[in-house]
């Protein structure tokens, strides 16, 4: 009975805080002179209603989903990887490195693997610094985002690295060579919509990760590590090794998402400055909102993907598309509050309070 009442209060709190976030967003739009219902309508047009748009939305959601799955891996093991934006960039750049030199299906596979490896390597730097030098991974992954964007930017200034040597390249923008059509991911076409293979791959990954985390002995150990690293170490889960693997796997998925974006058609199949385009940040937010449950990430990623594609239609309303970033962050903030309040209420009525996992994990001295 008490449980039911709690559930009802929780749902009520969710409704209230989301409503508050939306109201605040509407107010913000109104304050800057835009009509909020037109904004909403434009978003829906851009995300679903106009011809061919839901395919784009799916295509945009898939990398978010893959990134969010990576974020979950890190969080499960008690680590805070917030550097996905950089890992996506490095993964995509590595893939571009392969695709600008080779073509064909084998090159595609190699490019995807390169993306995977690139993301893993980038997160691996943070893992190394954490376990070797005890630098908090929160700081390092974040710093690495900036270094990744500048570093991959540098790659685009040299033709022997990534810069497209073609003198006829469009707009004189610094980009990599376009991925050859034989090296691109397959495209699925239904009902006048099209989206790359990334979509089914992301879905399969979500399901697989859900099962692995919930059922496999590896998932079991990862959970143990995240919830109590000292007990885990005693029971044979190496804090350093398993933690490093989880962090690197987390980065690998982000890098993989980057490679999928490149070969799946993002930025017209070219690696460009700012290629990651917030996919890393948004994917991370998907995981936060889904409270680290892989299957819940699927609908959340779809919503976030819809916001992305929908925002492209905002220009007509005269409202800056960056409003979408504000609305999204407000929504995430709103979704953080109810479970926190519920936890406090639970704690008040229980003799033993809930543990909050300490994020700086103990390493044997």
């Amino acid at each position: 009975m008490l449980r039911d009442r709690r559930t009802i209060t929780l749902v009520a709190m969710y409704v209230a805080s989301v409503a508050a976030a939306l109201a605040l967003s509407a107010l913000l739009i109104a304050l800057t002179g835009g009509p909020w219902h037109k904004v909403l309508s434009a978003l829906l047009d851009g995300a679903f209603r106009k011809k061919g748009r839901w395919g784009d939305t799916l295509a945009g959601s898939a990398p978010l989903l893959i990134v969010s799955l990576g974020a979950i891996l890190a969080t499960r093991s008690g680590l805070v990887n917030i550097g996905q934006e950089g890992q996506v960039a490095v993964g995509a750049a590595m893939a571009a490195f392969v695709t600008s030199r080779h073509s064909g299906p084998v090159a595609l596979l190699a490019a995807l693997l390169a993306g995977f490896a690139g993301g893993a390597m980038w997160a691996g730097i943070a893992a190394l610094l954490k376990y070797w030098r005890k630098v908090p991974e929160v700081i390092t992954t974040l710093l690495l985002v900036f270094i990744a964007s500048q570093g991959t930017g540098y790659l685009l200034t040299r033709t022997f690295l990534l810069l497209d040597p073609d003198p006829n390249k469009p707009n004189r923008v610094q980009t990599s060579a376009q991925v050859d059509s034989s090296t691109r991911l397959g495209v699925i076409r239904i009902f006048g919509n099209e989206f790359p293979l990334t979509v089914p791959v992301a879905l399969i990954l979500a399901i697989a990760l859900g099962i692995v985390l919930a059922r496999s002995t590896w998932g079991f150990r990862l959970k143990m590590l995240g919830l109590n690293p000292r007990t885990a170490q005693r029971a044979g889960v190496s804090v350093v090794r398993t933690g490093a693997i989880a962090l690197m796997a987390s980065g690998a998925l982000a890098g993989f998402a980057g490679a999928m974006m490149l070969t799946g058609g993002a930025a017209n199949h070219r690696y460009t400055p700012g290629f990651a385009n917030n996919v890393g940040w948004e994917g991370l937010l998907v995981a936060l909102v889904a409270r680290n449950r892989p299957m819940v990430c699927v609908p959340i990623a779809l919503v976030f993907g819809a916001l992305r594609t929908g925002s492209g239609f905002l220009a007509a309303t005269g409202v800056e598309r960056s409003i979408v970033d504000v609305v999204r962050a407000l929504l995430v903030l709103a979704l953080l509050v109810p479970p926190a309040i519920a936890a406090i209420q639970r704690r008040r009525t229980q003799p033993t309070p809930a543990t909050t996992t300490a994020l700086s994990t103990m390493v044997p001295a």
Binding site: T32, I139, L143, Q150, T157, A340, T356, A358
Partner: protein, 314 residues
């Protein structure tokens, strides 16, 4: 190659502009770093210091654009930083939401908000004029840097000793330090742990907000708010605290070190050295990464750093 580097270094050492810009960067970093230092001594780690800087910078720019009053604009920036810190403090140390999750979300929120508002209300500030201290500013090389800055820059001069005094000479500071080292002990001694932590974050917000204001109003070369001005300086400030081994002196030294590399990135092209702009831009961050790697393990951090406190939990 070595000759080129040596040549560049000697140019840099002889350049007045270099010292000037190094001090300016260091001061901006110091506002955020001193605030974050206080917050970390109380056991909290706020990556949202970044968003407090952004909020301060944008608000101060808009306020100056509308009123032409530097002092008022700085006040507005400070308030904006404080408001963001209230969000962080209450979400993470009242509702016990994970402090990194809150910090990250706030960073994205404030960045997006400033970007959006900036597209609606473009804030343009006129270029600040340096205040020269007579004679002292004429000291060769470093005179201009130390005694010829626009006046908001000098606000760091009272802020640093104030932070030290608060932390080491007041009861509030004693309680903050106890909360950062052993919150359970502080709690049974009758100290409201999470309230002190919220206050410490609030102090960080005030410092960073002011720092953001100084960032846009105290620079000679920048006019107005632009996305990217802050560019992870908040995170670099955290790195400075780590570099400084959670001491105030060390933290300030860290600010100087990172300030030097920011300045290097700006000055080399000016001095006629050809350097790739992307690599130069990445330099301070690479240095931050390296430097924290060297210093994080060696120094003694507050024992309860980044660990949430819930009464009854041991």
């Amino acid at each position: 190659m070595i000759a080129v580097v040596a040549n560049a270094l000697s140019d840099v050492l002889a350049s007045e502009a270099m010292y000037n810009s190094m001090i300016r960067f260091a001061i901006i970093l110091a506002f955020a770093a001193v605030g974050e230092w206080v917050a970390e001594r109380a056991g909290t780690l706020n990556i949202s210091i970044e968003s407090m800087l952004i909020a301060g910078a944008y608000t101060a720019a808009v306020a100056f654009d509308r009123t032409d009053n530097i002092a008022f604009a700085l006040l507005c920036g400070t308030v904006a930083g404080f408001v963001v810190s209230l969000l962080q403090a209450n979400l993470s140390h009242r509702l016990s939401t994970d402090q990194f999750v809150v910090g990250l979300t706030l960073n994205l929120f404030v960045l997006g908000l400033a970007l959006f508002l900036d597209s609606q209300w473009k804030a343009v500030t006129s270029v600040a004029k340096p205040t020269r201290v007579p004679l002292l500013a004429d000291i060769p090389l470093v005179g201009e840097a130390l005694f010829g800055q626009p006046w908001p820059m000098y606000l760091i001069v009272p802020v640093v000793p104030l932070a030290w005094w608060l932390l080491f000479r007041t009861r509030w500071g004693l309680e903050l330090r106890s909360v950062g080292d052993n919150p359970q002990a502080a709690d049974v001694s009758g100290i409201p742990v999470n309230r002190r932590r919220r206050q410490a974050i609030g102090f960080a917000g005030i410092c960073a907000g002011l720092g953001g204001g100084v960032l846009v109003l105290g620079q000679i070369s920048i006019s107005g708010y632009e996305t990217g001005h802050v560019g992870l300086k908040g995170i670099i400030a955290i790195a400075a605290v780590i570099f400084g081994g959670w001491t105030l002196r060390g933290t300030l030294a860290g600010c100087l070190v990172f300030g030097y590399f920011f300045a290097l990135q700006q000055s080399l092209p000016v001095l006629g050295h050809r350097i790739n702009s992307q690599l130069a831009a990445a330099l301070p961050y690479v240095v931050a990464l390296t430097v924290t790697a060297v210093f994080a393990a060696r120094t003694r951090q507050p024992r309860a750093l980044a660990q949430p406190f819930v009464r009854g939990l041991t």
